[in-house]
Amino acid sequence: MSFAAGSALRQMSRVARSWLPFFICIPILWLIEKNLAVLPDWEYAFQNINHIGIAIILAVSLNLVNGLTGQFSIGHAGFMALGGYVSAVIMMRGPEEDPYRLFFIVAVLCGASTAALAGYIVGKPSLRLRGDYLAIVTLGFGEIIRVIIENTPFFGGAIGLSPIPHRADFAWIWAVVIITLLVAKRLRDSTHGRAFLSVREDEVAAEAMGIDTTGYKVRAFVISAFFAGVAGALSGAFEGNLAPQSFTFVRSFEIVAMVVLGGMGSITGATIAAVVLTILPEYLRALANLRMVIYSVALIVLMLVRPRGLLGTRELWDFLRKKLPPFKPDDRAGALIDVRSATIRFGGLTAVSDFSLQVKPRELIALIGPNGAGKTTVFNLLTGVYPPTDGSIRVMGRDTRGLAPHDIAHLGVARTFQNIRLFRELSAYDNVRIACHHLTSESMAAAVRHGDLSVREETWISDRAQELLNVMGLSARRDELAKNLPYGEQRRLEIARALATGPQVLLLDEPAAGTNSREKIELMELIRSIRDRFGVAIVLIEHDMKLVMGVSERILVLDHGVTIAKGLPREIQSNPKVIEAYLGEKYAKEHAAQIAAAGGPA
């Protein structure tokens, strides 16, 4: 407990620090504006510098969607046009003089909000689509926005709008550039940024970690559209006119080229590419006719030679990182999973029928059965990947019908995947940190402001992730990319990631697959210790009967989607139906006596 005054002071200093870059930059920008930009000799140079600024805003905002979130939008110019036109219409009806530019700010915000709204309307339905479809839809929307503007006399039709009051100068444009960069960087470094990345890496796994993937896609899209709108408004107020011809597909493509060239997902990369691609044409004026040809060849060659862009997903600031202290796990208990007569059919095929399972706290249950028995399908049912055709599934007392996978993850069910689904291009550390996402409550705004809660939560997430990596023996591998870990460590990382969601039930889908018999025994020990340490119930899928006999307290046997046996390991071992499923009917009959003797009273 500290003095109220002390904590208030600390609070103030944190707020001050979070706005520091801004406070430093404004006077500098203002000085440059007053002393240099007004000189006639510098007019041409500053015209280019301002174009660069607008290009940076566009590239960095598109990078949020195309780079961080891994969606592919090629209609950015449409949102830019919308922001530009709406703000221009407002400014042209505004007062002659605008000494403090308050009216200008309002107009820009109106334009940007309209663009953001359009982003929401476009994004909400179309972001359900996969990459290339999304590309075409965004392209289509961009074109529709342009066609509408071109056919609306209010917006000046094909001739465009002019004169728009010259309100945006060097200082204003670059102040917005700095805001855009700060927002982008802080979002990226926050738990929200990792949520965006997880969507890019693997949507199914992200859902399983409790991340609302559709929600995050829409959010990325809306924020991106907002900044595109700001860029459009600035462009109009800087040039003094707007024409629909400057917002065609070609404009969108230039922005895409910047993001791709810089490295999909790298803010610094997008910035550098925006600078280069804006200056380059100025020096290639002699080759003006060949400009687009050069662009396209550069893009093709880059994709063939360096498909991740110049900087890849790395940032220039990635070289500055800190060390972190340990943390304590929290221990909770409650009612867990209750499945009653769940059945699922795919067309005519009944994959799982009449499946019932109750998971009590701290229990260790094994789900076994031959290939194609429907074990993974059971996990997919429990985690909401597939809804059951019949029957009910309750998690923590709540019916999961209609819940998305991330909702079920929130209820306290975490899983691993049979075919490892890590976020391959992210570090081990980030993989685990993403899974903490749904336990946090910081808002995106707080992440950008570096608010009090967001700072505390970031520390908590880091501690938790570090601890989990320690438990799974992966602390030395913290900063390695998941795809570079050896197979066994990838499996363990997946378990760490699942544990990070703070589950009460952990579903492990063949964690021992691909390991040798000694490793398997070690793994089973580890699973037991996880149960004891974190107090979670565990449901385990495994092929190897012998292995699960030792570790589990209860066993369910599936065959062709039907539960053929359930009970204690000893009972299962001697169950003729199980032996038949595993070894075939003939063998079971021939060796009936032998089996009865071996499995009977042990």
Partner: protein, 300 residues
């Protein structure tokens, strides 16, 4: 009523061209799950090659005939087939195992390369195109039916039947269907996947060349950016019918041509571009797999 029927005729003629282009999109998507953005530009290239060929051999000055037109079309088909082969070989094949977004970016790059490279060579201005002989329009009950419209519709329908036969009644067609189902398994069964994919690109490009010549004859002009809009609209047609589905592409093409002609006929022609994208968005929201397509879900 006469006006309505007139729009129907014009719509069918336009739709036939969209359908021909859409077939190329659909076949490539079927085998590669790639949207070949450059397809619309291969279509443009077809018209452009046709322009050069007819200027040299059979142009306006040298009294165009239907046989001259066939010759020009064949030449253009061969050139476009080769270009399609080269594009696949150089730009798409090296990226086949990398993330789809990379192929998509490359496809856009190829598309821009053809457009602006074409602009550099050909010049940005439209040039008159007259490879078909001029005939007065037939007029039945007040409905104008152009000679070009008749040739377009007949050619497209014939080509679609040929394509249907290729896909369903030849060894290569069977191999194409196998690859589209699962390339790895097809390869294990002895299908040479590379050859099949090359063949698909060539076939699609050949159809695009024909479409290009028909389109250029209909609006008798050629210019380097003429492929952009018809290309995108044909893609919409392919999605509308169910991408990857050959009869779907035809259906989508005709429906889109009709819709566009009716809207631009009864309102203003400046809205015609918005119609196609409106339809696209609608179909993706209501039935993303298209009218004749089947839905799929990702396996976990």
């Amino acid at each position: 009523m006469t006006e309505f029927l007139q729009h129907i005729v014009d719509g069918l003629s336009l739709g036939a061209i969209y359908a021909l282009i859409a077939l190329g999109y659909t076949m490539v998507y079927g085998v590669l799950q790639l949207i070949n953005f450059a397809h619309g530009d291969v279509f443009m290239l077809g018209a452009m090659v046709g322009w050069y060929a007819s200027a040299r051999w059979t142009g306006e000055a040298k009294s165009p005939s239907i046989w001259g037109a066939v010759l020009v079309a064949l030449f253009s088909m061969i050139v476009c087939g080769l270009v399609g082969f080269v594009i696949e070989r150089l730009a798409y094949r090296p990226l086949r195992s990398s993330p789809k977004i990379n192929s998509l970016i490359t496809a856009i790059g190829v598309s821009f390369f053809l457009e602006y490279g074409g602009q550099y060579v050909f010049g940005p201005n439209p040039r008159a195109f007259g490879v078909l002989p001029r005939h007065p329009n037939h007029v039945y009950a007040g409905i104008n039916i152009g000679y070009v419209d008749v040739v377009t519709i007949v050619t497209s329908i014939v080509l679609m039947f040929v394509l249907q036969r290729i896909v369903f009644h030849t060894r290569m067609g069977t191999a194409m269907r196998a690859v589209s189902w699962n390339p790895q398994v097809a390869a294990l069964m002895g299908v040479n996947v590379d050859v099949v994919i090359s063949f698909t690109f060539v076939l699609g490009s050949v159809l695009a060349a024909v479409a290009g010549i028909l389109y250029a004859s209909k609006y008798p002009s050629v210019h380097p950016l003429m492929g952009l809009m018809p290309g995108l609209k044909a893609f919409v047609a392919a999605v509308l019918g169910g991408i990857g589905n050959v009869p779907g592409a035809m259906l989508g093409g005709f429906l889109l041509g009709l819709a566009e002609q009716l809207v631009s006929g009864y309102t203003s022609s400046s809205w015609r571009d918005a119609v196609a994208f409106g339809i696209l968005i609608l179909i993706l929201l209501v039935k993303p797999s298209g009218l004749l397509g089947k839905g799929t879900t990702e396996k976990v």
